[in-house]
């Protein structure tokens, strides 16, 4: 029994020494972080969505040219956006750049996907908390209304309910598929 414990001690010691020699603390943290993300994702709405009949948003990669490029003004979701594209500013078409906060108050319209021909509900949220990004300026006006329809006008700054009113860039988030019955 004692020999077995010594063997186990020796094994753990050698393993720990080799690990310490071959890896850095930072790489261990990185791998541990990846493990945590992998373990967390199945309980997020992505997994639940498959159960309640939701579909993933259309595949941008299948589109030819700028229509599938979130950094382009011609990206299909940008049919009524007015601002700087967050995909060019350290964020993405769905997420604000680090250090900014997504405005909960937004304006919402629809854009037709050139691949499947469906009209998707798009939320144009401003990302707030830093000065203007000044990269990838884009102004398109499909379905936009004049200023006197404030809830449908994209000339306004939409940083309401955020800590800062300074706007940095805008995202174009798919909320759903608009089906007229």
């Amino acid at each position: 029994m004692i020999d077995r414990r010594r063997w186990l001690d020796r094994f753990v010691e050698v393993f720990a020494r080799q690990m310490a020699q071959r890896t850095s603390r930072r790489s261990v943290l990185t791998r541990f972080g990846s493990f945590l993300v992998g373990a967390t994702l199945p309980v997020l709405p992505v997994a639940r969505a498959a159960e309640d009949g939701r579909l993933p948003p259309p595949d941008d990669a299948a589109l030819k040219g700028d229509a599938g490029d979130p950094k382009s003004c011609n990206y299909w979701r940008h049919c009524a956006i007015d601002g700087f594209l967050c995909a060019c500013c350290g964020g993405s078409q769905n997420a604000c750049p680090p250090g900014t906060e997504m405005s909960p108050v937004t304006w919402i319209g629809t854009c037709r996907h050139p691949g499947d021909g469906k009209d998707y509900i798009i939320s144009y949220n401003d990302c707030c908390g830093q000065s203007l990004c000044l990269r990838c300026r884009c102004t398109r006006t499909e379905g936009e209304k004049p200023l006197y329809f404030t809830s449908k006008n994209n000339d306004l700054l939409w940083c309401f309910g955020t800590k800062s009113r300074a706007v940095n860039c805008s995202v174009a988030v798919v909320l759903g598929v608009a089906t007229r019955s």
């Binding site: 993933p56 997420a95 304006w107």
Partner: protein, 136 residues
């Protein structure tokens, strides 16, 4: 790294697209941008619908107020669609607060009320909230 993980999680959380139609679509396109998907609104900027809108129908003048607020009276929808989305809102966000004798809005009722939009929304709202508080 924490920021990177947060971005991944946010992107994953919104990577779905459900079919939306009828009053739910009208709500998404005309109301949700300010009142939010869950009707929670934004304190200081946009009134909440959830847990609030149904209570207005329990006091005198509340039914008319709900149909005359700017978002309803000026909605770019016809009378029938406006009645539809308003009834949907009351069902979804005010179901537990509605009076027992509640009857859904009709297109004709909306058509009549939206012809006289409120000119002092804040004052009317304040008076109705006081009436709601007294009625508890």
């Amino acid at each position: 790294m924490i920021r990177a993980v947060a971005v991944v999680l946010v992107a994953a959380g919104i990577a779905t697209a459900a079919d939306v139609s009828g009053p739910a679509l009208d709500y998404a396109l005309n109301c949700q941008g300010c009142h939010r998907a869950d009707g929670s609104g934004t304190p200081g900027s946009v009134p909440a619908l959830a847990g609030s809108v149904g209570k207005f129908l329990r006091v005198r003048g509340g039914r008319e107020y709900v149909a005359r607020v700017p978002g309803v009276a000026q909605a770019p929808l016809d009378d029938a669609a406006t009645a539809g989305v308003l009834n949907w809102i009351l069902e979804r966000f005010g179901r537990d607060d509605l009076p027992a004798d509640f009857s859904p809005y009709t297109a004709a009722e909306i058509g009549g009320l939206r012809r006289s939009p409120l000119t002092d929304v804040e004052r009317v709202r304040r008076e109705l909230l006081e009436a709601i508080a007294r009625a508890r």
